[in-house]
Symmetry: C2
Subunit: 309 residues, 2 copies
């Protein structure tokens, strides 16, 4: 049995429009996507908050997948966090139409005793102060990683820097890495992030894949090519859930394990974007994970340099 | 001795401004960049046109590198093709400030007898009608590839489709693949390009690398990570020159060779963008090509899927 993964993040009702359809108040949120993806690989301890409107069926589904919901607070009389957004044809950028914090406004993550010994921790994109609060409650983590967003880089920079000083890995998209460091060149910007504390930075590049930058080098993976991308919502969080889940599954965090985690994360993201809400991850099987992982591996393989130096 | 590579493309005087400096009337042009890159690997037959103002020193340099200039026309009393452009901090898009066709306006590529037996052909980005004219003059090519641009997709679509029906490989950036096919999803758009004729399409993604799509699958490579990108001008052409050059060097065009060509192209592009004009390629040595190629190979290597399906 792998060690448990601790995930803290939003549990949301999303209203999303893409060129391929729309959903209203569909279950989503970074914590839910990441928890769902990680559940393929390890027991998950989820920390979050919901209102009266969060579907009991969704909570049941998570429980059945081995996600412990003891750390999910329910605030009676309140509504869950809600996000409304849309995507244009190229699917690269979401336009946020509205955000209702609701129960999230006064959220104070408190870790149940059983969670405090989690060895693998993913702090999804929430207020950095809350990420710190979670880190304070975890006793002896083996590997910690955080996500963030442009809003916190601009409005909670000091707290975010405090988080970065304490995590093993920072997960950000390319624009966020540039914004955080003020450096347009990505290789250089990634180097600057490493100086802020984390031993690794993973740069998410949407349809262009993701890169892992560590002191000892770069690793890059393309995204898994899909002819039908239906809704990109949750891709980054599914990636993160698969990533931390595989580390827990392996029980190691060396360079080789991190590269394998990148591949599993990439596969989880590919399943996520094939449908709205959790439908893509719900349909995913371990055998598809295996197959896509091996395809990705083949997609980047090439023979040694034929030139003689 | 490898077979000769035939390259047709512009020979230009570029005036370029980037956040890291500027050059005025510096030697450039797709044919020159591609020829310079290919010259590391195979004898090059260059087809192009220059005016009185093209530096004799640049022509000498090409000759010394094994580039045959018999097919380069000199139009007395006229000026060479000139391009003026600039790049912003993220270096992803050039802004064209001016284009002077000059000698290029009435260019009619005529292949010297010695060129007509070239086995490996790169038609750089010129008017598709001229690309067709070159194809008509090559007797029995082993491998042909073409580049193009948004302007021809819009204004010379029929000629471009005729080119695509006749080449083995189409080289385009992601925006051009989308524009040509009207399909936003890249995997699907690449599939549509294959239906137009070529057996392979290479999608250039700038700093995100490049993908090779063939009927039997996808191959992807990240760009070589550089902390100092000085001027992206010529990167795609250097890629193409390295690509076709390696095929000639190997003398084969199978899947394995194409993947190795992608890697050599990626290395050539990395050298090109490290400085203005030809300075980066001029400094490049075979030993650096070898080293970067092997680093790229290591950058994408990861172990088999640990999960059991």
């Amino acid at each position: 049995m792998p060690d448990s993964v601790l995930i803290v993040g939003s549990m949301a009702l999303d209203t999303v429009t893409t060129p391929f359809g729309a959903v209203e108040n569909a279950v989503g949120g970074a914590g839910v996507y990441a928890g769902m993806a990680a559940s393929f690989l390890a027991p998950v301890n989820l920390v979050g908050v919901v209102g009266d409107d969060f579907p009991a069926q969704a909570l049941d589904e998570l429980r059945q997948r081995g996600v412990n919901l003891e750390g999910v607070q329910h605030v009676p009389g309140e509504r869950s966090f809600r996000w409304t957004g849309s995507y244009e044809y190229d699917m690269s950028d979401a336009t946020t139409l509205s955000t209702e914090l609701n129960v999230f406004a006064d959220f104070n993550p408190a870790l149940p005793a059983a969670y405090q010994h989690s060895k693998f921790v993913f702090l999804a994109n929430i207020q950095p102060r809350l990420q710190l609060q979670v880190l304070d409650q975890v006793r002896s983590p083996v590997f910690t990683m955080c996500d963030t967003m442009n809003y916190w880089i601009e409005n909670a920079r000091d707290d975010l820097l405090a988080v970065l000083a304490r995590v093993d890995l920072a997960l950000m998209n390319d624009a966020e890495v540039r914004q955080l460091t003020g450096i347009p060149n990505l290789a250089r910007a990634a180097g600057r992030v490493l100086e802020l504390g984390p031993r690794h930075v993973v740069i998410k590049k949407g349809e262009y894949g993701a890169s892992l930058v560590s002191a000892d080098g770069h690793f890059s993976l393309p995204s898994y090519p899909l002819p039908d991308v239906v809704d990109p919502t949750g891709a980054g969080d599914s990636f993160a859930g698969g990533f931390i889940g595989l580390l827990a599954w392996l029980g190691t965090v060396g360079n080789e394990a991190l590269r394998q985690a990148m591949a599993v994360g990439t596969v989880m993201a590919s399943a996520c974007v094939e449908d709205f809400s959790l439908a893509g991850l719900r349909r995913l099987t371990v055998s598809t994970v295996y197959e896509r992982y091996q395809q990705l591996r083949n997609m980047v393989q090439f023979a040694a340099c034929p030139l003689v130096p």
